[in-house]
């Protein structure tokens, strides 16, 4: 049996901001509404799982200065105050299965949504805490992803590790998510490739992200199946500039 998962670290990438430095509690729950489905003949309160209702929330220690450093107030207050667009939050637990949270090839959950609450509340003498909650908006998604491009600073065109994630059927689609934390000049284009072999001898481009020239930033690309290729990788292509700090994940989900 696998070891227990000790939550000593957990990466939380919200849009183009890494918030884990302030966080001491994370909660990602996934529920379905319980639609009554009992009919004549049933003697139980039969239910059918309705709309998925994923919810992400986190708690941590308040600070307010530099958004680019992941200071929570600088990131979250504007989201509640004046920005209701959908951002991805990618949550990377440790031992998933690699020991380090956010490691190449590890599992991560990504939910696209907006911030719906942000609270600063404490009594005298406490370390000032904050909490925030995200919920999906219309078109929002929740996917069980694999990290194919771990967060890192790269200064040249970079090809991620190819991984066998399986083919996707005609009833599924792929959801690829890009987080850009920092850019030092240039234009950077992320593409998603698939192939039927680990060597990627004849790769096919399945998604091309819009060129990124500024940070923080985030993007999502989707493509419907069926795709029979089972090997997947990202390629981050540089045009000019010096470096970029980014991460990318890939997951599959049913087509609504």
């Amino acid at each position: 049996m696998a070891d227990a998962v000790f939550l000593s670290d957990c990466k939380v990438w919200n849009g183009g901001y890494a918030l884990e430095g302030s966080i001491n509690n994370v909660s990602l729950t996934i529920g379905n509404s319980e639609l009554a489905d009992n009919r004549m003949g049933d003697v139980q309160e039969a239910k059918y799982p309705g709309l998925l209702s994923p919810q992400f929330s986190a708690k941590g220690f308040y600070s307010a200065s530099v958004a680019a450093s992941g200071e929570p107030d600088a990131v979250l207050f504007p989201r509640l105050h004046s920005d209701v667009t959908s951002w991805p939050v990618t949550v990377c637990p440790p031992q998933a299965p690699g020991a380090a949270a956010g490691a190449d090839g590890n599992l991560a959950y990504t939910m696209w949504g907006a911030e719906f609450s942000y609270e600063i509340s404490a009594s005298h003498g406490e370390l000032l805490p904050y909490t925030f909650k995200k919920l999906p908006r219309s078109g929002g998604t929740i996917t069980r992803d694999t990290i194919l491009l771990p967060r890192a600073t790269v200064s040249a065109t970079t090809t991620g590790t190819g991984r066998d994630l399986g083919a996707i059927t005609a009833s599924q689609r792929l959801v690829a998510t890009l987080h850009v934390f920092a850019i030092n000049g240039g234009s950077w284009v992320l593409t998603l490739e698939s192939d039927d072999n680990s060597g990627f001898t004849t790769p096919t481009t399945r998604a091309t992200f819009t060129a990124v020239t500024s940070a923080p930033n985030r993007q999502q690309q989707t493509a419907n199946g069926a795709i029979t290729d089972n090997w997947w990788r990202f390629v981050l292509t540089k045009t000019g500039g010096t470096s970029i700090n980014a991460s990318a994940t890939l997951g599959f989900c049913p087509i609504p």
């Binding site: 049996m1 696998a2 227990a4 998962v5 000790f6 939550l7 000593s8 957990c10 966080i23 001491n24 509690n25 994370v26 909660s27 990602l28 729950t29 996934i30 529920g31 379905n32 319980e34 489905d37 009992n38 009919r39 003949g41 049933d42 003697v43 139980q44 309160e45 039969a46 239910k47 059918y48 799982p49 998925l52 949550v91 637990p93 031992q95 998933a96 299965p97 590890n106 599992l107 959950y109 069980r144 989900c253 049913p254």
Partner: protein, 153 residues
């Protein structure tokens, strides 16, 4: 009077579909709750001096908590997160079998068999820093679902 049942090695197993009869134990289970209740339908009539009730539809939810496990390989002893998320995402109905002890079924160790349930809630990542992750999973009966108690299977 029989000795009490020390709940130290309960049996909780699921199939991959309702068509399958191959039960695989869920790994890392910490707690199991299977409350049996009925809707309390108002049945008071003239002459009653109490709030008379009639037992209506049966409610048979299942709550399980299990040690979280992100292992990518599905096996009898691993892959809890992948197994539960896949069932929930696809709304797959499965069978569940629960016994007080992970031992042969018997009159003192009966099986509670749910023939058609789905995952309605899970918590893949939900903890404070420094804690162990626990997945809290909720199953609900589907239409056509039944619960039987068996001392032989």
């Amino acid at each position: 009077m029989a000795d009490p049942t020390l709940f130290q090695n309960g049996y909780f197993a699921i199939t991959t579909s309702t068509a399958s009869s191959t039960y695989v134990e869920l790994p890392g289970v910490k707690s199991i709750s299977l409350p049996f209740s009925n809707a309390e339908l108002d049945d008071a009539v003239m002459g009653d001096v109490v709030e008379a009730k009639y037992p209506g539809l049966q409610s048979r939810p299942i709550s399980v908590t299990a040690r979280q496990d992100f292992t990518t390989t599905l096996a009898a002893t691993s892959g809890l997160d992948k197994r539960i998320y896949t069932l929930q995402e696809n709304r797959t109905a499965v069978k569940v079998k629960i016994r007080p002890a992970d031992a042969a079924v018997s009159g003192t160790n009966p099986s509670y068999i749910y023939n058609r349930v789905r995952v309605f809630s899970s918590s893949p990542i939900d903890a404070n820093h420094g804690e162990l992750l626990v997945n809290k999973i909720e199953f609900r009966l589907a239409s056509g679902g039944t619960v039987t108690k068996s001392t032989s299977t």
